[in-house]
């Protein structure tokens, strides 16, 4: 799991949400084309002629159905891709637990950590201890 997958997942979730909303809203929006007037009553005869010369073209029920089906199909594809990303990102992977250590020897006065650590010097002096050197030193 890394941040790349996390980003993909978040993007996919937003896209799915957006498409779901559009799936719901689109048919309503299309259905309004028949009921509502395209323009307000005009004052001048010229404008009246212009309005009358371009009658509204309502979408046929089949076209509406087609658009809805297309939106559903795209949503489904996006959903499938996001599921793949989730799986790849291992986001819903199970939790891991370690049995607690019964007794520990408190070192250097630290009650949370006794100083079990590793260090690296990634810049600076020429005689630096890098991670690899440190491992060689220890072995």
């Amino acid at each position: 799991m890394n941040t790349f997958h996390y980003r993909i997942r978040r993007g996919a979730v937003w896209l799915v949400l957006l498409l779901s909303i559009s799936t719901l809203v689109a048919p309503i929006a299309f259905s309004q084309t028949n009921d509502q007037p395209r323009s307000t009553p005009s004052v001048t005869p010229d404008q009246l002629v212009e309005t009358q010369s371009r009658p509204p073209k309502p979408l046929s029920p089949m076209s509406k159905l087609g658009v809805a089906a297309a939106v559903m199909l795209v949503s489904l594809i996006v959903l499938l891709f996001s599921i793949r990303a989730w799986r790849a990102g291992n986001l819903f992977d199970r939790e891991y637990r370690f049995p607690p250590v019964a007794s520990v020897a408190i070192r250097l006065g630290g009650n949370r950590s006794g100083g079990c650590m590793a260090t690296i010097r990634f810049r600076g002096r020429a005689d630096t201890i890098t991670a690899m050197d440190s491992r060689r030193e220890d072995s």
């Binding site: 799991m1 890394n2 891991y96 370690f98 250590v101 990634f122």
Partner: protein, 194 residues
Amino acid sequence: MKCPACRTVFSGPVPQCPTCKLSLLRLDAKFGAVPRHTRYLSDRSGRLPLREIKKLRALLRIFEKKFPQSLFSVFVTNGVPSGSISEYAFWLANRTGFSSIEAVAGDNFDLLLGIDVEAGMAALIIGYGLENYLTEDDLQAALAVAENAFRAGDVSRGIRECVECVMNRMREIARASEAHKRVGDLVAAGANNR
């Protein structure tokens, strides 16, 4: 185990380093008040872009989700006054409230990555609870993975690589430990049936 200050190797419950006399109380006197810090990641150097901080916090949140006992904290600083990052990391791991108050001794499964950008040094330290599972070699390997990014000045990439490396290693260890336990249970059940 090595002393965070002089790297003297010691074992057992030593109250202070046999060589340099380092102890948590001495570090309290040295570093004074606990610095301001936030959950998951604290950037006191001001070098990490906000966008990167957000991404890293998201990654560290995922880490905690996978290992609910563990909190992986990162502390980036622009130099440790009169000390080294290893001393500072040891002090921070014990003194800051990164994890819960109850997470002490064998119940502390936390990790802290301290980075001194100015000195070019990093230290990765674990709580007592993880000592039975993660070795110093594992920690060194995680830092080695991040070394190139740190050297190139890409601190956020280095942190990410280090966290991901530890995450993978801990997952491996947890799975192996569970498999081992299952085998043990089966053997015990077999012995009881006989």
